[in-house]
Symmetry: D3
Subunit: 314 residues, 6 copies
């Protein structure tokens, strides 16, 4: 008998709640350990706020996840020890204080031997996540699903940090290995031609949705595998990579994007890569209906866990 | 001049209301008779309740159906005598009493010479529907659209009946001809690998959404026709076979499913088979927006009627 | 610094989660212990289902509760040890199995020395709650807030149990001390004059909303205190006692009811009585907007806890 | 056992559907006959359209009406023969054609010996309703619940007919007996001081919400009774007389209005007057939430029926 | 730094507001001039009203449009002088008066040397738009995106004008060059086979969605280019051409339609044609969720502007 | 003929748009000038974000405001020159930069001889508003409508500025004349007894909702007038002073608050005081339904303008 989705306390997929500051070595078992960390921060969004409720929405939807992945043929919750680390502290009025908190929480978790699946929050949180991961793993290959390149220099006057700039900052700080940085799903109007040009100049392999339609997963995935190889890989999934029909609950929706099937197919195709960290961001439940965006995000989280469960040596 | 969709009493497609207990021979004309029966029962759902409002929602949406099917080139309301039999009695607290009521209502209707299009209600109602149909037609070929196999043994402790078990019960009772039992659209996490294995062991030809994408309608439909042949066919359509972007209003949505176009194309492709009964279930209007799920369900009902209108001798 | 309402795991008011089966003596401190138990069952509703999401909705809203009650001048979370016992097991298709589970969970909690605040669920759950409480405390004085008397004999054919019958069953079983049974907020159309007459015959002191408007809290509360005196008191609060403008998210709303202020004022006025158990039922979040019904329910829970915190000897 | 509110075909309170053109004498029984007529027309609204769905929304909500009025102590569906006449034909692009249709339908119904409860539709429909009633009964005393006087001369250039002008037109046509014309609930900004002045000049006894608060029902109702006396009375209830907290689903909401309790108390207080017709208008379900506006409107309809059921000789 | 989408006054894409009657020559610069005109009229809809809020909804969503079109490689707001002309006067109760107003406003704008992007409003407004454009340009090639042919003769008794008839009226009046009239996206039930036959007889090249799926954009677009050639082209985009999953906010949704990507791809493919006017109609924001329909409509507007910006000599 | 509320560009009540930096003396007429300034900042909220859409929501609702105040008997748009100054620049990630921008914009406006009605935004914006006003007028009497005292010292660690602290900061900075500082509508749980005690120590005259119910407007208003006298008065209206039934769209709703009628009555009662500035904050449209909160806020704005229009010498 499986537990009823409408019943019980809403940790991620009913995993045990272990607060961040208890993510030391004490819980060590034989299985690889995963911590799910929420980051309920949305003060860096440029259009609709609401992603602060992302972790809660995704956790609630995650109770619909039965445990077995029929396509990947793996049961991630059996292969892994998954814990819910709750939410990082955030300071809505101060992005620098928030960044410090996120980085510290993530570093604590990583130092405890966990890998971390992060639930955002707006995309500004990527920077401290990459800081913590790069500190441990060195510069990271990155697969970045998004409608927007997020490589702006300044989105708000004099403000280096926002949800449109984290990838540029990360490259400047040497956190991203630009030899292996994919942007997938990019589309929609931009401020000018320089938006794309800048991303390319910074080293990104940008795959617009239009190009994805031409390539298909069957051509794109081998290119990613060939390029990333054994590098430590971080995957960041901005839910607005997906079309608003499938993911309405987000801050800056762009029409003409990935279907949910296409999104999941691409994530599944990352099997075999050395993913060391991942996140799902920009889910804004106040704009959802029937929970469909949160359900998609929860399923993406399940696919990420499945990838980890299939890693050799894991 | 067509009647205005926002006006009038909401029977299915403005058909005449004939309560179940009046579905005797008195209304017989020359045309084949169809009864549309609602079954507003949702106490067997494992996640979101709300399908008790399915019949009402679909009826309201059905007022948008003009009468001519341009793809099939048939006017079902001219070829058939369609009546709205209202709703079967249900007992929210007692599934056995509800089952008895559904079976009796359906048997009454079938014995009156009608064929029945049923509007659910959650999928648990399939069992008494199959009981009534098999009593008249013998074991039934079944085309079953769904995200889930519904062949669990027990979903709730000690409870043989629920919305996850009707197909196993039906097979155990000999209601389904397992030589011709298709499951289409299956996907998403399950409790374990045994969920799919059990369905296969029970005899189902399971077509996951992933396999459907590989086959396409052009390969799948001939396989169905070849297998089903002249057998009496029952078609059960759980709306969660469709992706939540197209059908958000359902109890246990699974991302990555059929589009509305794909769903309708498959139903249209059943033309020529000996369909003797059909249903549309798991539409939960409290979770709908802009009525899009109910509108899709009403159109599926229209396609079912069109299939009947094209049957030879009908 | 108070924790942020949008952050963290959603137990009731961030209380520690202690599953029902761990509600033994081990956690005993010096303070009175309270367990908050969810009962996510809604299969007995006669109109809109959805109350199965009541416990989750109220827990989420409870994160808005800061800890100090300025009117009662008490800090319940300091005076009491409040735990969240999670949700009782329920069986959507079987009310008797559900009743057994609720009664067992409640008895376990009560036998552990806790008092219990229950979050429903539809009002049918009152019966097993009263069974468990009466087993410990004997027949109970009851203050029952509701738009409906819930003293029907049969709501569904041959079914003694449903959300319209628990009070009659409880009286028949001797669980309610009919010398001290108040119904407050009753209003709206009924099946016939016998609905009210039956309640009166069974011994209820029925205070319709119309009578409440004439009496006011200042006359009604002394009457309750005079009648209840030192008896063990159970308070059951069906949220539809409140007007749908203030509590839209419920299954059978009745217009013309209590405002939220009036509801809270009445609950506060129970100060000094020997309340031994309480519940808040019929909150159906799928019909809420902006969470206002869940927020009201969470505040009612806070007022109940405040009553306990002010009990002499507690 | 009462029928379940979520089940069955949605005529008003499950009354028998008798189309307008069959409202002849054939159905005559011993009881007074009432026809409920929908008028789904909203092209005359000046702000939010949507009232075309008013009749459907109110019918659906009416299934929550059990049959006995406990305050008035009457069972209207036993005392009266209530029929649902369906909806009048309307022509969205042509208000004159719509007016002709409404007047004809109403005259047909009245000539069949019925009294008519009309469900709007926007308030422009009042004019043809009054035309038909005045043709039978002569100039009518009118009790008019509304936030707005609806006595504008022209709302749109060169257009005598709209939802802001019907009362002026009706007075000009001699349909209203201005010796007995009450406007209740008037409030909010107007185009200028002349809006109120004009209503007063035309003969209306305007009771603003502010004045109502001073008077109370206990003073206002006797004034109405004294003034109206035995005259034939028409009651028109624009739902925006009620505060948007209680009735959000309307086209031109005005804050600071009647509560649902106050509205119902006033309607109940019309007991004893010679009401010959009534309507409930401006319910716009697309703007409703949890159906609370439609539920209120259905209850107002129930109160109107109760008034008729208590008329001497009826 | 781009302006924040949630900030500022909501003209279309922050363009300068120039009321219609000021659209004379005074603002002339060197760039081609475009006026965006809203037409908030929805009294001709046959199902759900609400399109009167279309212009407002699309304007609000347009603030998400950054200025550069990465696929077409053009910055329309730099290449063009785009102004927001506000809304045409409409008369909800009188379609003829509304038609006169729309035609006059459009003629004023066209005579000022502007081209016009119109934001509806229901599709009935197409007729006066075509009248004004044909007066200037002669009979127009038309590319008409829609689920419905809109070539009915009469939708309401005796009413030549409604949202289902404008294309027939336009052909009768010689406004459309039927040698180059495409209907794209047609689907769903119709009143009978004559609905499609009539459109074909009138000269339309009807591309049903089913045919589009067979052809693809790569075959359809060359056919359009070959047929339209240098003729003056008017493009009318009824948002219900798009599937309700992507565009729920419309009056008469039909399942099984274009995705947003397909819609935009087709519009982009009109590059090189001599488009002289265009509109986006039937967006009904009260039925939207998360603004996804308005966002799609705003993007379609952006693509139309991009087409203009790429016209030679512009 | 009044303009149609669904038509046209949405400045506040259709007032002329004059950007902040043009608010110099050039527009000077004989009438007192008012600027309506939006401040779309919500990064300081502690619960639900969304108030960044407050200015837009209130502007849209303001189109329902006809121009004459029947209770106050004044036409504010005739007596005053009202302009819409658009929105102040905000920086979501930096509250200090936002504060500087708000203060500068407000100072510019005040120095142009305008008085300012501000539309928030969360309540943190009060501080720079008071800074700008106090710079011109000296320490201000303040009437502060709210459910919360907003006199916390620190809401987030080390952060002096947030939406729970502006009143303490303002008192510390000498901006508020604590001899005349009223808090009205305070209620709900707080962190501890010190929350209220601190407000009292700081000099506030706190009127909880419970006390308001005892006093009534008839006693409270004279107290305010007696205390404030001729001092320059600033009125800040946090919409959560109103009960969530009437104002659901806000970040930290508290049940049991003011009705809309009570709120407006109190504002009207400020007639005669020397109000020099005012605001309406914490309206969060993503949580609204049917626009009722925005409509209430727009009406409060209208009442503020009416107060100014009645000031002697204005």
């Amino acid at each position: 008998m499986l537990p009823l989705p409408f019943s019980g306390i809403t940790t991620f997929a009913r995993s045990t709640h272990v607060p961040v500051n208890e993510c030391g070595g004490v819980l060590a078992g034989d299985k690889p350990r995963i911590a799910v960390l929420g980051v309920p921060y949305d003060s860096a969004t440029s259009s609709r706020s609401g992603a602060r409720f992302g972790p809660r929405g995704i956790r609630e939807a995650s109770l619909l996840l039965w445990g077995y992945n029929n396509v990947q043929k793996v049961a991630p919750f059996e292969k892994l020890d998954v814990f819910d680390a709750g939410d990082a502290d955030v300071v809505p009025v101060d992005i620098r204080a928030t960044y410090a908190s996120i980085e510290m929480a993530t570093s604590t978790i990583l130092s405890g031997g966990y890998r971390q699946l992060t639930l955002g929050g707006d995309h500004s949180i990527l920077l401290p996540l990459l800081r913590a991961h790069a500190k441990k793993y060195g510069p990271l290959a990155v697969v970045h699903f998004d409608a927007h390149p997020d490589t702006w220099d300044l989105e708000y006057e004099n403000q280096p940090y926002s949800h449109g700039t984290p990838c540029r900052r990360a490259i400047e700080e040497g956190l991203i290995d630009v030899e292996a940085y994919f942007q997938i799903g990019i589309r929609g109007p931009t401020g000018g031609p320089e938006d794309y040009q800048d991303a390319l100049k910074l080293g990104a392999r940008m795959v617009t949705y239009e190009e994805y339609r031409r390539l298909g997963a069957k051509n794109l995935l081998p290119e990613i595998h060939a390029c990333v190889g054994p590098r430590p890989l971080y995957v960041t999934f901005d839910i607005d990579a997906v079309d608003p029909a499938y993911a309405p609950a987000t801050g800056t929706p762009e029409v003409g994007g990935l279907t949910s099937y296409e999104a999941i197919e691409l994530v599944r195709g990352l099997k075999g890569l050395n993913m060391v960290g991942c996140d799902i961001v920009e889910v804004a439940p106040p704009f959802d209906h029937a929970g469909i965006t949160s359900i998609l995000a929860a399923n993406l989280g399940f696919e990420f866990l499945s990838l980890w469960a299939m890693q050799p040596g894991r």
